[in-house]
């Protein structure tokens, strides 16, 4: 069995991403990813991107290099890169969700977020899911108004 890693990063869009731009981006990305046996997910929220890339180490590294050169986004923060035992998004050449910061912020616990046949459905409690939760409460995003900065550690889990 070949080794797998995931790389999770956040970035900031340099242009407005409407439905048309996002659709085109995904069409292209998915075609490439399928060829590369790369899986993952991409979240867009009001100009912020959060992406999980899963594949063999060299494949992930190369694609991330390429993605970083893409002028459509900037301010890259590589959050984590580490070996994984199995893919979290095995059947997704690139799962996608476009949600408003408001929608993200009102997620109470991740389960609401993961319902309804999306790639987030049944995501195991691993790192990708936890980082997604952190992103949902405003971590790893640029200067987002209302993003949680202080106080409670686990904003999304507050009772």
């Amino acid at each position: 069995m070949s080794s797998l890693i995931h790389l999770i990063y956040a970035s900031v869009a340099t242009q407005a991403f409407g439905k048309a731009q996002l659709t085109e981006l995904l069409r292209q990305a998915r075609a490439t990813n399928e060829r590369l046996s790369l899986t993952g997910m991409l979240l867009h929220s009001d100009g912020s991107f959060f992406q999980v890339l899963e594949a063999e180490p060299a494949v992930v590294d190369q694609l991330y290099q390429k993605i970083r050169l893409d002028k459509r986004h900037e301010q890259f923060t590589m959050i984590i890169k580490e070996p994984i035992a199995k893919r979290s998004f095995a059947s997704w050449s690139m799962g996608f969700s476009d949600v408003s910061p408001k929608e993200l912020a009102t997620i109470s616990g991740l389960n609401d977020f993961f319902h309804g046949g999306s790639c987030f459905n049944k995501l195991d409690a691993g790192r990708a899911k936890k980082l997604l939760a952190a992103f949902a409460v405003g971590r790893w995003r640029g200067n987002i108004e209302g993003a949680e900065r202080q106080g409670n550690i686990a904003g999304a889990e507050r009772r």
């Binding site: 959050i79 984590i80 035992a85 990708a128 952190a134 790893w140 550690i153 889990e157």
Partner: protein, 245 residues
């Protein structure tokens, strides 16, 4: 008859395990059991380990984990299992982890359930090399925890090289935290860093309701300590959950 008494070699002391739950107080369920070594009559860990000559410690350590896995499996474990791990040089540690993996395979315990706890002091000697070493096993699904976090001289900078699955806040940080500003500041900062990196934070040695409430209000949801359950000899003890306000 005792469930899981083990003996590594003729001269090694006999030993078995007690289990202490790590509880998720939001889900109100046991998140993991930590296996704690004991003598056959429930003698404390130090008494058992004190009988092992230094040069045998590594082999003994390795043997004990296999026994802990066997015992936990017979007790029907269905959550994570936290095991202590004493890393020596990387070569010897590799052999040691492999026997642990083997033990898990033999008892059909999924590798994803195993969490090896490494103490902070051990990790920091050569962080980058250690991180690389550990990551090999994480690729197999095994999890790692940093134990006694905050007890030594290294702190958050540890997380720059290596992002474990769990960080266990040392009981010296937890003690009377509800009234101790510096401890609060450290725990808040550590908690925030861990949350941002997808690391589970476990508060160890929680003994009072006040400690628990402060930590819970700060966002900690995983707890280990007398307040919830004491280590129980060769069994999984019942958990006493604290009512929410």
């Amino acid at each position: 008859m005792s469930l899981g008494i083990g003996q590594a070699c003729a001269s090694d002391p006999s030993f078995t395990f007690a289990f202490q739950p790590i509880v998720d107080t939001i889900a109100r369920e046991v998140f993991s059991y930590e296996a704690l070594i004991r003598g056959p009559g429930n003698e404390p860990a130090c008494q058992v380990l004190g009988q092992v000559p230094g040069e045998r410690l590594l082999l003994f350590d390795q043997k004990t984990r296999a026994v802990a896995i066997g015992l936990a499996t017979r007790l029907g474990i269905s959550c994570l299992l936290n095991l202590n791990f004493v890393p020596q040089n990387l070569h010897a540690s590799a052999a040691s982890i492999l026997t642990t993996l083997e033990a898990a395979n033999q008892t059909h315990l999924p590798i994803e359930r195993l969490v090896l706890e490494v103490t902070e002091g051990r990790v920091i000697d050569d962080q980058a090399q250690f991180a690389e070493f550990i990551n090999e096993y994480r690729g197999l699904g095994m999890k790692f925890a940093i134990d006694d976090f905050g007890s030594g001289y290294s702190g958050l900078n540890l997380l720059a090289n290596f992002q474990p699955d769990q960080v266990k806040l040392d009981m010296s940080l937890v003690r009377s935290i509800e009234s101790h500003g510096p401890r609060q500041a450290i725990v808040r900062a550590a908690g925030q860093a861990c949350y941002d990196l997808g690391i589970d934070v476990i508060a160890e040695g929680v003994e009072t309701v006040e400690e628990y409430r402060w930590l819970a209000d700060t966002g900690v949801r995983l707890f280990q300590g007398y307040l919830f359950a004491k280590p129980a000899f060769e069994c999984f003890p019942p958990v006493h959950y604290i009512d929410s306000r």
